[in-house]
Symmetry: none
Amino acid sequence: MWFRVNPRLPTPIYQQVVDGFKEAIVKGFVKQGDRIPSVRELATLMTLNHNTVAKAYQQLEREHVFEIIQGRGTFVAEFKPPSDSDRDRRLAKIVEMMQQIYIEGHYVQLSEDDLMSLFRETIRKWETGGKDV
Amino acid sequence: MWFRVNPRLPTPIYQQVVDGFKEAIVKGFVKQGDRIPSVRELATLMTLNHNTVAKAYQQLEREHVFEIIQGRGTFVAEFKPPSDSDRDRRLAKIVEMMQQIYIEGHYVQLSEDDLMSLFRETIRKWETGGKDV
Amino acid sequence: MWFRVNPRLPTPIYQQVVDGFKEAIVKGFVKQGDRIPSVRELATLMTLNHNTVAKAYQQLEREHVFEIIQGRGTFVAEFKPPSDSDRDRRLAKIVEMMQQIYIEGHYVQLSEDDLMSLFRETIRKWETGGKDV
Amino acid sequence: MWFRVNPRLPTPIYQQVVDGFKEAIVKGFVKQGDRIPSVRELATLMTLNHNTVAKAYQQLEREHVFEIIQGRGTFVAEFKPPSDSDRDRRLAKIVEMMQQIYIEGHYVQLSEDDLMSLFRETIRKWETGGKDV
DNA sequence: GTGGTCTAGACCACC
DNA sequence: GTGGTCTAGACCACC
C-alpha cells in the first residue's frame, strides 16, 4: 500500500485512510482515473474491517476525490476546481492550522522566518521523499 | 476572559481552553508569572463543567505552560527551553500540520508560494488583530 | 439511440435504461408498435452488459411499456388504460415524489407557488428541448 | 415518534430516518433548537441499531439540518440559507423529480394541469394532515 | 466480481 | 449521560 495506518493514534482509522489516499494522490503515487483496490481487497491488505474502508471511500467520494461506480469499482476522480463554499471551508482549515503552527512554534522558539524555512524544507523533502518524513 | 469557547465546534471544549490560553500567552494578554483563575473560578466565569476546565489545566501543566503550586494557585510558567523530547514532539506536530496544509492547499490549487504568502499574511493579521481572525 | 446512460451516476444503469425509454416514448421519439432493438443489440450498441439491458426490458414489460412477442421481438406496447392496482401504484409514487419536492423546496426556500411555476417551466423546457435539460 | 420506518422498502433505513426528520421539521412537529432523542434512545424506540441511527444523524448534520454537540446531544439546527452549490444540487434534484412525475403521469393519463392540481392538493392535505397521506 | 446496509456488541472520548 | 468508531458477519443490489 501507499500508506500505513496506526490504530493507536487518536485519529480514527477511516480518517487515516482518507488522509493516506489524499497524500498518495498529491505525491503522484496514484493518478486521475486510476482504479483503487476494492473495499474488501484493501480491508484484507491492511487488516481492517470492510466497513471502515467503505466509510473512508464514501468520505473521499463526498470530497470529490474518489468516484465510486456501482458494481464496477472505485476510481480517482478527475480534478475539478472546488465550489466556493468548499474552497472557503478548506481555506479556513488551512488558516487555522497556520495559527496553530505559529503558536506551537513559539514554544520551540521558532520565529516566523524559521517556520517559513521549515515549511519550504518540509515540502521539498516530502515531495521527493518516502512515505514517512 | 481572554478567549471564548464554542461548544458547537467539533473541537473538544477542553482543547479550546488549552488553545485559548496558549494564544493569549503568545499574544501577550497573559504574562509569565501571572496568576490564572482557579479551575472552579474559570468554570463559573465561562459556564463550563469544572471537569472540562480541570482537564485543560492538567494538559497545560503537562506541557509546562502552567505551573500549579499547591495551596497557592495556578500560574503561567516561566519560559524554559523545552527538553529534547518535548521539542521533538512539538516539531513533529508542526511538520505534520505543514504537510496537511500542503495537501489541503493542493485541493484549492494553492502553490507552495501561495501558501507561503498566506502563512505570512495570516501571522501578520493574527498578531495585530483580535481573538478571531 | 434515443437516450444516453451514465455509469457514474448513482442511479443504476438498468434504471436509466428504463427511464430513457419512457422518456423517449413520452417525447414521441418512439411510437406504439415500434420495434425495439433486441437485448443483445442494445447491449452492443450502448456497450452495456446484456444482463443489465435484459433487466431493464423485463421491468418495462412488467410495467406494460414493452411487449415481448416470442420469436418476433420486442415492441412498444399499445397504450392501454392501466389496471386499478397499476394506477394506484403509480399515483402513490407520484404523490410521494411531490412530497419529496415540497420538502426539498423548503430547504431552498421555494414556496408552493414557486414550485408550481418551476414545475410548469420544467415541463415546457423539457417537452420542446433535448434529452438533457 | 413522528414517523415510521419500513425495513422492507428498498430505501435504506437510515435514509428513511433522514427523510422522516426532514418531514417532521417541515410539518412543524419539531422546531429549531429542539433537542432530538439521543442516538441510543431513538434506536431503542424504533428498534433499530444505534449505528443506523448515528449514520442518519451524521447525514442530517452534513446537510445542516441537525447540530450535534459532543457530549451533550443532538439539536435541530437554525435555518441557514444554503450555499450556492448546495442550492444548485437541490434544485437539480427537484427538477429531475418533476420530470419523473411528468413521465409517470403520462401512464396514468394525467395532463400537466391534472398534475398541477394534484400537486396543490397533495401539499394541502399533507401539511394539515397526519403522518401518512 | 463490485459497493452498501444492517445488526450485535465492544470500546472510547467528552461533558 | 452524550456521540463516534470499530470489528465480525450476514445479506442485498448491481454489473
